[in-house]
Amino acid sequence: MATTAERPAAALEQASTAARRRRRRRAARHRQLVALAFMSPWIIGFCAFYVYPMISSLYFSFTKYDILSQPKWVGLANYRFMFTSDPLFWVAIRNTLWIIAIMVPLQVLFGIVTATVLTRIKRGLPFYRTVFFLPTMVPLVAAALGFIYILNPAGPVNRVLGVLHLPEPLWFVDPRWTKPGLTLIGLWGIGQVMIIFLASLLDVPRQLYEAAELEGARPWQQFRYVTLPMISPVIFFSVLIGMIQGFQYFTQAFVVSKAGDRTNEVGYPQDSLLFYTSRLYQQGFEGFHMGYAAAMSWVMFVVIMACTVGLIRTSRRWVHYQGGFR
């Protein structure tokens, strides 16, 4: 039975709990504000440089706009033109698919191969690692120009090929060899991918290899059943990044096309180097069809999203995570 002495105590307790709750709420709000204050640079940037431009570009994609005059609403005309009338749209798609289906896998493969070579080196590892990584330091423009010279039909590589009595392709002048030429540039800069694979390969626990060897597995089988699954997260990561970058491939193609003669069309020779972003640049910033360029960019965004989601979905089947988080 509550005495007069206890009732004020209970009331005091209630009061202090309420006060505590109020204090907690105020503290939470204070924390929220502090967090938002810390986030503020990004919030401003996100709204100004992402949200607003995205909405704006979606709007532009339904207009005919050349900056000099006001945008003119044309509805779906840009999209219709893109899929049915643009003479070079499908060429650009085919070329971009080449990058994603051929160049990216080759790069991932070469990254694994070079990393594997390095895992077997016991002496002088830092030297080799530096040498392999060095080309990634080279700016893309310089690398492209360097390779344009090296792969010149009358240049050093062809001279060496000639001495060895091998066929001398015309490289960046022959549309069949331009994309392989670009692949060479891509493989030369494999260092960054290689380092990631190297770390991952070294991370594979030795017990697994020893267990496999005890069961009689040959080196190739060890690679397939031990190494590959263990490095699959890195493979997934490399393929994902490679794919996203592949859709945006531009600089090397632009430099190579224009290096022979500035008046060359983007994509020279014979549109073999006309990638999706090249076409976008051509229409948007050379032809000044800004609305059309915006439409192209949105199609690209949707496709990249779809491919990313698709890749992530399929990854569940073949990517094996050690920690099991995802």
Binding site: K64, D66, I67, L68, S69, F81, S85, D86, P87, L88, N152, P153, A154, L170, V173, D174, P175, A259, G260, D261, R262, T263, N264, E265, G267, Y268, P269, Q270, D271, F285, E286, G287, F288, H289, Y292
Partner: protein
């Protein structure tokens, strides 16, 4: 004080003219009285000239200061059409723009990127028809808007190495395309390993910029569009004739051999260097513009050469003496800070006889005004005269200009590259495809 008043008045008039609604292309525009005092002003001119040619034009532009002491001209070279367009879009255009690509004039007129000069011409009391030959208007105006004026012009013809011709027993340059093909074969010399040592003629498109499907089309009088701006690549049989002739010349030597020869010459980029194939005696006959005379002199090339009109279709001998004409154009971009002064400078650059003849001598370009065409020095140069005649020939034209600018020539160039490499089994189908592509791109505008 009076200077500022005049300036303010000009500005007020200009503001009134601008804000009084668009489309007033018959209303006179504000101009600067050339004889009045004026506050010192520096005007910037952008062009695509470089190296020697840049120096010639810059020196010529100093004459503007002699005529208008208050005006200083800053000339910036190596600015192509995209650079100029981007500057216009960005709101920071040069005061006067010069372009080598009249193909884009239609787009400039259409979008207003270059201002319509008719009001200025009226205010300055310039009678277009009395100053410039009819031919120049086809590549400087579009649908009634005169957004550019020619600053000198070009004509294409045949250059031939007289030593090499004599060596192979040829006394006169070819007059028909069939003769050219024959002589090209005779004049081509090979190395022991089968590669080309000297080319009789370089039929490859995509090598030097003077040899394109477009420039070659004049040899057959092939027409790009009809009056409704519909492409006529398949309906005009002359295109088929031209392409067949061009490919035959490529196949006579071999596409691969020609590409390697081109690479050894230094590729397309060597066109304007001292390593130019014709200038170093590695190409016997070449189609090129009249400016090549100046380059040969400037590069101190030792080639012994002569010039003539380019050979034409044997079935159309009347075409002989004509060729592609049209070249450098100048205009006042939209959004310039001093439109009246810009116009004064442009007027000087396109009509002042002393200026035009001086740079015509320096660049060896064809003069563009009736007055400057009379210049004796150019008329008496036997290697330059053929080009003046080509310009005067009534059948010489520029390619019809469209709002898609160079896109049609770009599409045509890509097709020609495939065609000469042997990738197009059916010429008619291929041409039809290019036609469709051009028509479709015209839709986008």
């Amino acid at each position: 004080m009076r200077r500022r008043l005049i300036g303010l008045l000009a500005l007020a008039l200009l503001a009134a003219a601008c804000t009084a609604g668009g489309g007033g292309s018959d209303k006179p525009a504000a101009t600067v009285d050339p004889n009045a005092n004026h506050a010192p002003l520096t005007l910037t001119v952008w062009s695509d000239f470089s190296a020697r040619e840049l120096g010639v034009v810059t020196a010529g532009l100093k004459m503007a200061t002699q005529k208008y002491p208050w005006m200083t001209v800053k000339h910036v070279g190596s600015k192509n059409d995209q650079d100029i367009q981007r500057a216009v879009n960005g709101g920071t255009p040069p005061d006067v723009a010069i372009s080598f690509t009249p193909d884009n004039a239609a787009r400039y007129c259409d979008t207003g990127a270059w201002q319509d000069l008719n009001p200025y011409l009226q205010s300055s009391k310039v009678d277009k028809a009395k100053v410039w030959p009819e031919g120049v208007f086809s590549y400087t105006s579009f649908e009634g808007k005169q957004c550019a004026l020619p600053m000198l012009t070009d004509a294409y013809g045949l250059y031939y190495n007289t030593d090499l011709l004599k060596k192979h027993g040829i006394s006169a340059p070819p007059k028909t395309t069939a003769e050219l093909a024959d002589m090209a074969k005779k004049l081509t010399e090979y190395n022991p390993d089968g590669s080309i040592k000297v080319a009789g003629f370089m039929p490859l498109v995509g090598f030097y910029g003077s040899t394109t499907a477009n420039t070659l089309s004049h040899a057959y009088g092939a027409k790009w569009y009809d009056e409704n701006l519909k492409p006529t690549l398949t309906s005009d049989p002359n295109w088929t004739k031209m392409f067949t002739w061009q490919k035959a010349m490529v196949d006579a030597v071999g596409y691969d051999k020609l590409q390697r020869f081109a690479a050894k010459l230094g590729g397309a980029n060597s066109e304007f260097s001292a390593q130019n194939g014709f200038e170093t005696g590695k190409i016997a006959m070449m189609m090129d513009g009249e400016w090549r005379n100046a380059f040969i002199e400037g590069d101190k090339s030792k080639v012994n050469y002569a010039t003539a009109p380019f050979p034409v279709d044997p079935d159309q001998p009347g075409l002989y003496g004509s060729g592609q004409i049209g070249g450098t154009i100048g205009g006042v971009p939209k959004g310039v800070k001093h439109p009246a002064e810009s116009w004064l400078l442009l007027q000087f650059m396109t009509t002042d006889n002393t200026y035009l003849t001086t740079i015509a001598h320096g660049l060896k370009n064809v003069p563009s005004t009736f007055e400057s065409l009379k210049d004796q020095q150019l008329q008496n140069d036997p290697r330059f005269k053929p080009f003046l005649d080509v310009f005067a020939n009534q059948q010489s034209t520029f390619k019809p200009i469209t709002p898609i600018g160079q896109t049609d020539t770009d599409l045509m160039n890509t097709f020609t590259q495939k065609w000469q490499a042997g990738k197009v089994p059916d010429l008619q189908a291929g041409l039809k495809q290019v036609e469709d592509q051009i028509a479709k791109q015209l839709q986008l505008g």
